[in-house]
């Protein structure tokens, strides 16, 4: 099968790749652009480890084809920090020990950032339902929820 040329923007950089029409956006990010921060935990959109935003919308990159990224703005975990300055969510995740193995962390961060952009003052219930698409098997979510809510509080104070 011949490959298709895709031109897109990832974390603000213009990038191009050739992909098989069957390859997912996740495959393309990981295998063609070497952006291995997004993880494949299931390949069926159930675990959220591959979460990215496409034109500002939170999606599972394993459920989107690489060719569909043409002309879009993609944001991944690699783009969350501003140079050497970590995003408040990243700092709080470390501070709260909201990760044990860390495999779900990239997806949780992308999803939580997306939540706080839409709702700067989420309740615990809203936070839990927003992150219900991001499976974590290590933490029982307790410390993740606390980290996200504390980040929200801190960002509200700062703004």
């Amino acid at each position: 099968m011949s490959k298709l040329h895709v031109s897109t923007t990832v974390n603000g950089d213009t990038v191009e790749y050739l992909c098989d029409p069957r390859e997912t956006l996740l495959d393309c990010l990981r295998d063609k652009l070497n952006l291995t921060g997004a993880k494949e935990g299931c390949g069926t959109g159930d675990c959220g480890a591959c979460s990215v935003t496409v034109d500002g919308r939170l999606v599972c990159s394993c459920l989107m084809l690489g060719v569909e990224a043409e002309g879009k703005q993609i944001e991944t975990v690699e783009g969350i920090a501003d140079g050497d300055i970590l995003h408040p969510l990243q700092k709080k995740m470390i501070e709260y020990a909201a990760l044990q193995c860390g495999i779900c962390t990239p997806g949780v961060l992308v999803a939580a950032k997306s939540l706080l952009e839409k709702n700067p003052n989420p309740t615990e219930e809203e936070t839990r339902y927003w992150l219900a698409g991001n499976l974590c098997r290590c933490t029982g979510y307790d410390k993740i929820i606390r980290a996200v809510m504390d980040t929200a509080a801190e960002m509200r104070e700062a703004s």
Binding site: D20, E23, K39, I80, A97, Q100, C101, R137
Partner: protein, 752 residues
């Protein structure tokens, strides 16, 4: 080690610094199993049996081999023929090989039968369709009780070991019986005897990272393997045996690991990648799909259990008996013995008898899952205890306190306990506000205790000091839950230098001596003990250098707050020499200063926990909500308390999944029906409440700082505690897990 020798005042231990790998993990930089590539790399894919039980008549790989994108195809013939079949677990290499690649029979749905390496992942997947396998389908069995019945299909003759009594079905491969006293006499003394049967389904460890590896093996017998694993030395040893190469010629590097919980203590795809690489003469990467993970890797055992317990009106247990039948897939290894030995371990019993069976069926080879075997037994035993308390009108914590094991108690599995912390966890439960909080209508509360042995295991640690006074520590136990932070804290405590000045690395198999797997809750205990001793070894040399510079004997110098100081007024009057002052000149004063420790620490110290759970059952839908959860567990000494809490919370969450939702569902055809996360539902954030924790610290006499492992015990009480809460809320005893909405509705209906 005498209790008095143990350190009890700490500078670094017990603090909560940020983990050293935090930045890498929040920026996407950390390299997990699938995050690797190499020049010339091929992609592997594995063909799996669609049948639960079938004779492999013929495999024709010629069409696949002829395809231009395919560079190698392997079947069982490409692995070592020197690995011997032996009964029970003594032939474990053979069992692993047979699981990695089927020989004469496919033994379960998903069993590997052939593999290809091709130029892309898509090409490899496509090429699998070109392999033709002729199967002769055989009768199958997936249920533990049916697998023991006289007419059950035989999975493999000759797999039973010495322990199995005569007359049992060949699928029963190991038997365990232990206990003490006279249970019949004990039951006769009881005011109330309850006898009941319980069942649990197989669950998967459910780590979010699928198995992934990249292997490279040349015709010179030298190889490299990168993989996500709980133990790269066991991967090295097993792959070498399965491929017929020398162990030391294979270097294995452990990637960052995306969860294991016992499921990554063995190999699945690693020997296949190496076999493909040897044939293609190029590196081969294999990454499992989620469906492959469910179908072909480690679920836990399913269980069928009969419990009988007698109690006096005052709550004294007079006798206890348990029969535990565990199904562990198509190979020996189901931990029926562990279930039996752990089930009654929290209690001081005069009369106890426990029997465990290890039974084979046409399911994937069970793998360890967090305190393997213990949660099922606790579910059955603690359910009967709860029912006894209900019927005799007794408080469940008081009854457990009355019967609790303590130092000097003869354990149900034989020996006399050393200092243990069960009573302390029960007292903390009784005093906790959760235990006295009022319940709303429709809610129920459940209590359960849990026990796990913990493990030591072979351990090597090496520590090297740098000229600038910083230290690097090489450990061999993959870091699953923040253990690098704990190791750095323990090294800082001994060396007296800041936590931040220590870098801990998980070394590969070529740069450190042998290490047992990160399992058995052993990492903070055993690698921690080894880190402390390696640091003390370096301190001895630091003291010797200072002594030499002062012209006094080495034993006249002691180490205090990161400095060498004279040990007393008679030793002389010298200014303290900080670590960095000594290391700055180490090259010229005797050479590099390093410390190391190699041993098999044998003092892991058993551990206990008590959980309190509130559950609410919706009688319309049968759905259960966990409204409040408290974990109380003895950690011995919490090195990094936040990560100890994390272990408690994670164990509870996994237990909630096991109790309420998770199960392997097989169709009549013997095929797994729910091999994706949509259908195999692990707890999500909106399913759970916050999980409160109480860290009890009853020091372990076998560790310099008092550490007991904490990783596994936390999953032992939840199944029972939740079942007790649900049963009390629903007004009907739940005897089968998971307590999914249809099961609860059926139980409510049967109860009228």
């Amino acid at each position: 080690m005498a209790l008095d020798d143990r350190k009890s005042d700490f500078t670094f231990v017990g603090t909560r610094p940020n983990r050293p790998d935090g930045l890498d993990k929040v920026t996407g930089r950390a390299k997990f199993g699938a995050d690797i590539s190499a020049p010339g790399m091929l992609h592997g894919a594995i063909l799996r049996s669609p049948h639960a039980h079938a004779r492999i008549v013929k495999i024709d790989t010629s069409k696949a081999e002829a395809h231009k994108d395919v560079k190698a195809v392997v079947t069982r013939a490409d692995f070592s023929d020197k690995v011997e079949f032996k009964p029970g677990l003594s032939g474990e290499f053979w069992n692993v090989l047979e699981n990695v690649m089927a020989s004469d029979k496919a033994l379960y749905d998903g069993h590997a039968v052939a593999a290809v390496a091709a130029t892309s992942a898509l090409a490899a997947r496509d090429a699998l369709k070109l392999i033709e396998v002729e199967y002769e389908v055989l009768p199958h069995v997936t249920d533990v009780d049916k697998a023991m019945a006289p007419d059950a299909p035989i999975i493999r003759e000759g797999a039973a070991d010495y322990s199995v009594p005569e007359g049992m079905h060949p699928n029963v491969v190991r038997y365990h019986e232990s206990g003490h006293g006279d249970v019949d006499a004990g039951f006769a003394e009881a005011d109330l005897v309850i006898e009941d049967s319980f069942a649990t389904e197989a669950t998967h460890q459910g780590y979010i990272e699928p198995h992934a590896c990249m292997g490279s093996l040349g015709s010179d017998g030298k190889g490299e393997l990168w993989c996500t694993t709980q133990g790269h030395w066991i991967a090295q040893k097993t792959c070498a045996a399965l491929l017929g190469i020398e162990t030391s010629q294979l270097r294995v590097t452990a990637s960052e690991i995306g969860g294991g919980f016992g499921g990554k203590t063995t190999v699945f795809i690693e020997p296949v990648a190496l076999a493909l690489s040897r044939k293609a003469n190029r590196p081969v990467k294999i990454v499992m799909s989620r469906s492959e993970v469910f179908r072909a890797t480690g679920p836990t055992a399913s269980a069928s259990m009969d419990i009988k317990i007698g109690m006096k009106k005052d709550g004294t247990i007079t006798a206890a008996q348990g029969i535990f039948r565990l199904q562990g897939g198509a190979f020996p290894g189901a931990p029926g013995d562990m279930t039996a030995m752990c089930a009654f371990a929290p209690y001081n019993l005069t009369n106890v008898r426990q029997v465990g069976y290890d039974v084979m069926s046409n399911r994937p080879k069970q793998a360890a899952y967090r305190a393997p075997g213990a949660p099922m037994g606790a579910f059955a035993v603690e359910s009967v205890l709860d029912e006894l308390c209900n019927q005799l009108g007794l408080d469940p914590v008081d009854v457990r306190l009355k019967n609790a094991a303590h130092e000097g108690t003869k354990a149900s599995y034989g020996p006399t306990y050393e200092r243990i912390g069960l009573v302390e966890t029960l007292e903390a439960a009784k005093a906790h506000p959760h235990y006295s909080a009022p319940l709303k209508p429709g809610q129920g509360r459940g209590i359960s205790c849990g026990f796990w042995f913990n493990h030591g295991g072979e351990t090597s640690v090496s520590l090297a000091l740098s000229e600038d006074g910083s230290a690097q520590v090489m450990v061999g136990t993959p870091d699953i839950g923040g253990s690098r932070a704990s190791m750095a804290l323990m090294a800082a405590e001994v060396l007296g230098i800041p936590y931040e000045n220590i870098r801990v690395t998980v070394a590969d198999t070529a740069t450190l001596g042998y290490n047992d797997v990160s399992h058995g809750s052993r990492v903070t205990y055993a690698s921690g003990l080894a880190t402390i001793k390696a640091a003390r070894h370096a301190v001895e040399q630091l003291c010797a250098r200072a002594a030499a510079s002062w012209g006094i004997p080495a034993d006249a110098v002691k180490w205090e707050n990161g400095c060498a100081v004279p040990s007393g007024p008679n030793a002389g009057d010298f200014d303290p020499r900080p670590l960095a002052d000594i290391t700055a000149h180490m090259g010229a004063t005797g050479g590099p200063i390093s410390g190391h420790f190699e041993a098999t620490p044998e003092g892991a110290g058993v551990s206990f926990g008590t959980h309190i759970v509130d559950a609410e059952v919706d009688p319309e839908t049968g759905k259960t909500s966990i409204t409040r959860y408290t974990v109380i567990q003895d950690a011995g000494k919490a090195i990094h308390p936040t990560y100890v809490e994390g272990q408690y919370q994670g164990g509870a969450a996994q237990g909630i999944g096991w109790a309420l939702n998770e199960e392997y569902i097989y169709g009549d055809d013997g095929r797994l029906q729910n091999s994706i996360f949509l259908d195999y539902r692990i707890p999500v954030a909106s399913d759970l409440p916050m999980i409160d924790t109480v860290i009890v610290e009853v020091p372990n006499p076998g560790h310099p700082f008092g550490v007991r492992g904490v990783g596994e015990t936390g999953i032992v009480p939840p199944l029972a505690a939740i079942a007790n809460a649900v049963s009390n809320a629903a007004g009907v005893r739940m005897k089968q897990l998971p307590m999914s909405p249809p099961r609860i509705l059926a139980a409510l209906k049967d109860n009228g």
